[in-house]
Symmetry: D2
Subunit: 139 residues, 4 copies
């Protein structure tokens, strides 16, 4: 299955989840590397009209945990996010942000991802790491 087909399938699957509620859309899905966009609008802002830090955290966790899922699903593994940390560097009022997740460590039991979230000009809005534990046997 090529990347375009995967993206189409993913968006059908996630429409009725938190990803749909926040408007998160994957734009690139490759082994160990993913990108997704998220709008800065009523769904992702806090009361003062700025991007909610929690929305950035949700985008980061989405990218890393889905990236791990893709790496282990064929062998029946189950990816479970265990720890997320994120620094918020820059505020944003509108438009959209793009998150890029790169795997830093791909062990049998643990994955660690680096996620950077940037605005339209490429300025970093937030940086994050996610630790994922791989469990056996969903089947």
């Amino acid at each position: 299955m090529n990347e375009e087909d995967i993206l189409k399938q993913v968006h059908e699957m996630v429409g009725s989840t938190m990803l749909g509620a926040l408007g998160i859309r994957f734009t690139r899905i490759r082994p160990g590397y993913l990108e997704a966009t998220m709008p800065v609008d009523d769904r992702t802002r806090q009361p003062y009209g700025l991007l909610h830090g929690g929305a950035s955290a949700a985008l980061a966790e989405t990218l890393g945990s889905f990236g791990s899922h893709l790496l282990v699903q064929d062998s029946g593994g189950l990816a479970v996010g265990v720890e997320l940390n994120i620094n918020h560097l820059k505020s944003k009022r509108g438009g959209e942000v793009t998150g890029k997740a790169t795997i830093l460590h791909q062990g049998k039991r643990t994955h660690v991802w680096n996620i950077e979230i940037a605005d339209e000009e490429g300025h970093t809005v937030a940086v994050s790491r996610l630790t994922v534990m791989i469990r056996e046997g969903r089947g």
Copy 2:
């Protein structure tokens, strides 16, 4: 203004924000201590039907940053979340979770919050800390 009035005012203010999108509702708002609930449903689940870790992160960041806002707004301060970390301890498929935020450190320039998220039986679902920086002069 008593707590009930504050809660009513807050919910009018946050309806059209991420808090509305995720169904987060404050249930207790006191100086240095806040509680809020969040449903585990289509708005907060990931594709496998479990509570999305990013939703827990959003709940934690909401509680701490709003708690800091309340502590500094009268003196014209601006509360900005700078770092969030969270451990996910337990999965959840439905019902709701409750987050409780307690301030650990209330300095002039920095606040640190501890946030615990639990299920209906009081079992811990996630634990989190949020670092907030207080800036002067919104006025």
Copy 3:
């Protein structure tokens, strides 16, 4: 073996490790709960004469990873620290600090610890969480 004997044995074992270099001494070792002290002196200060944040981090990681080791060693498990986070809340120039570690989550594959570091008056100097992965088979 009672707690006193365990403590004696531990101190013989750790003298020629980082614990010796920093002056860390365990004072209470129980399943899921440990305490240790660390001096604030030349070994643990930064150039400006204050307790080095990295020394607090080292104390936190020591407590949690050793606590996990004690819980899994009898069944042949290996405890490996995977993620540490720490907030520094208060500076300190001399005397000693005491760290107290409590296990928050004891799963088969993952442990999560909360560690609080306090001064002689019980004021919190730092708060930390450590995620430990349990691997099988050291034998």
Copy 4:
């Protein structure tokens, strides 16, 4: 003052601190970028003969907090580390590690550093972020 002179001066200053106790030596000091080495020996190992995760944390905090200090000392600012997080990716038994710190965000009130620690072959041993608050007025 050139980099060589700065390094000499720094090492005179830090000999009787935690940096001396752990054998940390700066090898490159530039605005927003620093490197330091740390031996993996009795001073930095845990009881099982591996590099102590707390030593890596201490190296990371050293690099970021000293890097911030250098950026603000001329204007009388005081750099205070507020939050450190670190993922341990790879174990190590001997030799030395090298930490490289790059500033991610240099605001008036907050600095955020990314620190990577690698072995002699350049394999990543740990990744870390440090949040530093800048206070005014040490004078």
